[in-house]
Amino acid sequence: MIENRSMGSKIFDAVNVVILILITLVCILPVWYVLCVSLSSREAVNAGQVALWPVGFNLLSYQKIMGESDFFGSFLVSIKRVVLGTVVSMVCILMAAYPLSRTKKQFPKRDVFMWIFVFCMLFSGGTVPWYVTMKNYGLMDSVWGLVLGMGLHVFNVILAVNFFKNLPVELEEACFVDGGGPWRCLITVYVPLAKPMVATIVLFTIVSYWNEFFQGMVLSTRQSSYPLQTYIQQMVVTLDYSSMNVDQIAQAMKLNNLSLDAAKIFIAMIPVLIVYPFLQKYFVSGITLGSVKG
């Protein structure tokens, strides 16, 4: 581009670099802070000495977690939920996206179904009717409740439909000429070509199932069926702050093992930190896919 660097421009460049680095630090700090707290001694944490560096470095918190079967139970519930949820979601999304991406001539009822999907995306009965329905189905304390209760994410279907629509129509024709039907066309031609889209949806689905806590909370009647996020959410015994004065709050804080809590929070972040680099690679294209015109 144009090289025309005045004094003011150089100052701006320097200030800009500093500002951007500071903003970036603000985004990474919380993760760092949790890690520091989890590696510090309990006394140092409760005394409020830990800020940006571990104080009294030790791995006691992580050792302690090893003995907490509740924590690993919840971890397992979350893993099951993510695996089942992602598989079921992807099968439903890809199978539905293929017919919906056909032209009106190929599939005359296409628009009717599209509107059914969109209606379900935009409108919902709300929390209470949803809860009553789930209860009537007998899906309390069940991993299937946690999987199906999230509902089909229609926006992902639309993403897939838009992607399929933009594939050249000759591919499909070639497949049909070779004697294949819609199934073979979907499985052997469309899905392999849609790798970036599939990757984006898979990763977003994993993250949304992993991060969900509310349904895990209301659909569980006992602690053993909590997914991990719900476990973390319920971890600190809910305190009634309104009836406490400031000293009592501080006292109550001391009773908690904040270092152990931080270790649990850090472990709950790890799966997201693992899929994150893959997400990073695909989700930029994934977001822009959403705006593809039909």
Partner: protein
């Protein structure tokens, strides 16, 4: 090409998704009937007494609900405005970054909070702003008194809006960066030839170039005016800040699932759903009209 014998396969392909939608989206919609009943879990939907619009009339008479509605709109609009402006500023700064080498790492890191759950982020935020947390220690070092950040009704709304922007701005930047990349480079050169400095180029070339994107994001966020973010607020609030922090979704949860006022909670939830759907539909319509954006 139209092949008649394939059509039946198209229907079969739709079955799993339709079943899922039917049992977990459509069936709960019938529960909306509860909003017009005095629902009694023992009797069920079929045998509970119908009360017409009583729940809705009652809802608008409750000062509680009016306060909650006001909180919801204030928080949601604050988030919408912040989530459009801050990422825009950040994208412009990032685009002007002279050290190209650190652009990629910066982007990678700022996306991160978006992918962490509010359960986790709220715990972290509560710790950092906690009574013995780092922020209060800093305040003390500079001679101030400790502040109970999440116990002050006046501070709650700014904190909620601020932390929401913090979580999402990196992710929201993606769309702007893509739009900035799409601006014709020769326009910058032409502007430079005409004697435009750096800020003039941003103002007269970049901004007009991404105007449509900004407008589109603004229009599409119309549907979120009643969406103040349940996950975030549920994990951050406490009874001390109900006066400013309670929103429709948290109120519905407490009224419905904790206090078992099923019918009233359903009515309030329905009110929110209907308004939201109308706003979303208007948003899509406007987006189509002004920017040619189509959902599908």
């Amino acid at each position: 090409m139209y092949i008649k014998r394939f059509v039946k396969h198209y229907y079969i392909m739709l079955v799993p998704a339709l079943l899922w939608l039917f049992f977990f989206s459509v069936v709960p919609m019938f529960g909306i009937i509860m909003a017009f009943q005095d629902y009694n879990p023992g009797k069920g939907i079929l045998h509970s007494e119908f009360v017409g619009l009583d729940n809705f009339v009652y809802m608008f008479q409750m000062s509680d609900v009016r306060q909650v509605l006001a909180n919801t709109v204030v928080i949601a609009v604050g988030k919408i405005v912040g989530n459009i402006i801050i990422p825009l500023v950040f994208a412009l700064l990032l685009n002007e970054l002279c050290l190209k080498r650190i652009k990629r790492p910066i982007q990678t890191i700022v996306y991160l909070p978006y992918f962490l759950s509010w359960v986790i982020l709220a715990k972290i935020v509560l710790n950092i702003f906690g009574y013995t947390g780092p922020v209060n220690q800093l305040i003390e070092i500079f001679g101030g008194g400790r502040i109970n950040f999440f116990g002050e009704p006046d501070l709650f709304q700014p904190l909620v809006i601020g932390t929401d922007i913090w979580k999402g701005f990196g992710y929201n930047t993606v769309v702007y960066l893509a739009a900035i990349l799409g601006v014709d480079q020769s326009l910058y050169e032409a502007a430079a030839v005409d004697g435009a400095g750096r800020f003039k180029r941003i103002w007269h070339v970049t901004m007009p170039g991404i105007r449509t994107t900004v407008a589109l994001l603004a229009i599409l966020s119309l549907g979120n005016v009643l969406n103040a973010g349940f996950d975030q607020i549920y994990n951050l609030y406490n009874p001390l800040v109900y006066s400013t922090g309670d929103i429709i979704d948290t109120w519905v949860y407490r009224a419905g699932l904790e206090n078992l006022q099923y019918s009233l909670a359903t009515a309030v939830g329905l009110f929110k759903s209907v308004i939201s759907v109308i706003l979303i539909a208007v948003g899509y319509k406007l987006a189509d009209k002004f920017t040619g954006y189509k959902l599908f």
